[in-house]
Symmetry: C2
Subunit: 477 residues, 2 copies
Amino acid sequence: MSPEQFRQYGHELVDWVADYWATLPGRRVRPDDAPGTVAGKLPATAPVAGDGLTGLVDDLDAIIAPGLTHWQHPRFFGYFPANTSGPSVLGDLVAAGLGTQGMLWATGPACTEVETVMLDWLADLLDLPGKFRSHATGGGVIQDSASSATLVATLAALHRASGGDWRTHGTRRRYTVYTSTEGHSSIEKAVRLAGIGDAGLRLIEVDDHTLAMNPDRLRERIAADLADGAVPALVVATVGTTSTTAVDPLPAIGEITREYGLWLHVDAAYAGAAAVCPELRHGHAGLEHADSYCFDPHKWLLTGFDCDAFWVADRAELIQALSVLPEYLRNAATDSDAVIDYRDWQVPLGRRFRALKLWFVLRWYGRDGLRAHIRSHVALARDFADLVRADPRFEIVAPSPYALVVFRLRGGAADDGDARNAALLDRLNAAGEVFLSHTRVRGRYALRVAVGSPQTTAVDVAAAWDAIRAAADGVCA
Amino acid sequence: MSPEQFRQYGHELVDWVADYWATLPGRRVRPDDAPGTVAGKLPATAPVAGDGLTGLVDDLDAIIAPGLTHWQHPRFFGYFPANTSGPSVLGDLVAAGLGTQGMLWATGPACTEVETVMLDWLADLLDLPGKFRSHATGGGVIQDSASSATLVATLAALHRASGGDWRTHGTRRRYTVYTSTEGHSSIEKAVRLAGIGDAGLRLIEVDDHTLAMNPDRLRERIAADLADGAVPALVVATVGTTSTTAVDPLPAIGEITREYGLWLHVDAAYAGAAAVCPELRHGHAGLEHADSYCFDPHKWLLTGFDCDAFWVADRAELIQALSVLPEYLRNAATDSDAVIDYRDWQVPLGRRFRALKLWFVLRWYGRDGLRAHIRSHVALARDFADLVRADPRFEIVAPSPYALVVFRLRGGAADDGDARNAALLDRLNAAGEVFLSHTRVRGRYALRVAVGSPQTTAVDVAAAWDAIRAAADGVCA
């Protein structure tokens, strides 16, 4: 592709993206096609001769866009948001063009150093404890996701709990990991991947009202496991659980992990972004006890996937756990010990220049712009919760400290009630006007409205509520 | 950022990328700055108010570009290449703009289906065994890197070797994993991460001339481990090792893994791309024995990082090993069993629309364009090897079946010879005219010239040889 062709297609596709964003409000939030619809529109094999991208934009319009669930849609309220933004896309564009590899400092000094500085900027914006900064004992790194952050924390915890023996002999001892019954599924996955086995995961009971981990039960379980000969290694506490954004009590949990010498990882994948606002930092009380912490700028901080920000309090422990150094990666900078080689902070070896999009986003919005972004969603969610509360057919089933509202149709025998709520969700999502997802709270089916798409306004929230009420009329008729 | 601002900056940065590529030949291949140089040019904290990206392009020119090792530079011959191309960058741009999440089919049907089709296209282009196609028992998926592919294969192998018990009880038995002494460091890392422990890794001796795994030694070691009560789980064979692109003998290894029921993973991270050319498929003989296979389009197939293509022969085994299904991810399509949910094929939960860049690349170049790309580099590497052979000061130390040439200055006592070769590399790279990396072959320091940057031509290879000779004059003087 010649430079002129790249410019021409590049300008065309920048415009296509701008048009895509502008036309989102008029699109179905998710398609209504059977599996195989998109695949059926593609040729069975690659072309023999290059086609010069003939028909590319037509195919994007006819095959790709209609076949997607639109996460940037203003009426996408499912799961947690996966924000992106203009500055983030621009940062990704430049990073893709540079095509550099940041596995070692030496293979991309700017790639490494911008990342270190951006993670320090973020630590400052969230007012994280000083130990997580690069000029203290810790430092931050971009992981692809909170799942990988949890896995990395699990590995560092095993290294510590084993006194270093884990590197050599693996998980042949009976290690245990603790999170609440509301902890994310990636914790179960990390425990399995790390070779601990599902049987080593302890799901600690939660408070029935707040749905936050009960620290008394945590202490009892650790003590029981110790008495039973197990090796407790890690507690994963959550600030903003996936089901309901419950906040585990870090001060009490942190006292326990400190007492027993366990690694404390704090998973704030969604809610961490809210800490750019001082009035939304309550969940971080006790964070000084944490050995590691993560949140996802790619969820609610206008930065496209993948960008999980992960910090450790003691980078030496992490590096000891993960480092391998073959001859072909040796270099003077690494040997000097004066640089960060981020390959030792993550699962894969290679890495893109993901800090660039973070730099673009933080420059474009600034601290105040990010605060305004978060506050607008929190206010919209409060307004939505007020609408739900005002309708006697509905009940809100969990506290709503951020921008997620979890609610359900009241009444009826348990099974009928769950079926009615499931029918309500199916009816809503099938219409394509809005998209919501669901969960179970105290065993009962509930709907989730996560306000977080950058384009979402009061009009969209009102439209969602209208659609929900209309669907409820149908389900309850 | 308004749509108009996005268009304006987008066009400007597309042009910046085109200019960056055009100006690469005139740049130093890697910077000559001390650690901290880039960080020192950045503010200590994020701006309070957004700055509208004022000075952005100036900063890219003054801080970022001069602070990078330029992997797309025509005289970058280090490590293995990390190709990108215009079509790939365009695909990444569109994917970033769509900002969709492909963790489930339901959260991005087109994201999932385009990926399945593209991996079938690639399997066809490389002429992989039929079982790896999605319409057979297998299927392909994009991993971030070959490191993650190796980890995923390790987990599936543990699942099989344990009869399923690994999911519940982890790696408490003494599992063993086999690769050659030339296997990639990511195998050691996967073994550690999976909880097997470094002690469970068996590095099998290689043939002294070909540097390929000796299958007799493999068989002996497996038998000895079995006799000793260990549980052999996995063999990782390499097609194109990192040091020298040696090719392990798959037919003989495959007979052994089949006889003992071990999982065979074939790591063709670099060399797999060459199989788009029928005359370069020799390394794939015996691939019908493999349970999984991967190669990196992001190395040598014009597709930007991250894009590792990973196939399994039996997708059910992989999914059984990795699946977790919390309530909040349940959906009708998943329950129907009629779709692929790629979250169960990888470590993280979330995933980007990476298949889009692959689609753009395969359309733009077509089968013939990709063959021409590979063949040009293979021819350039042969020409370079001829130059080395013609100079009596140098010796080539390993066969060169693809586009990597490994060589060294001859002679002298062992230690002096290694020091002289290391000095040669330092002198070369410090000048910034070319970039090479090194390895050790049979314990001796050697230099590597990997021809693979898309812009590299005969002029660049000649320039590299001139620089090497001149540096050798200096070192040998």
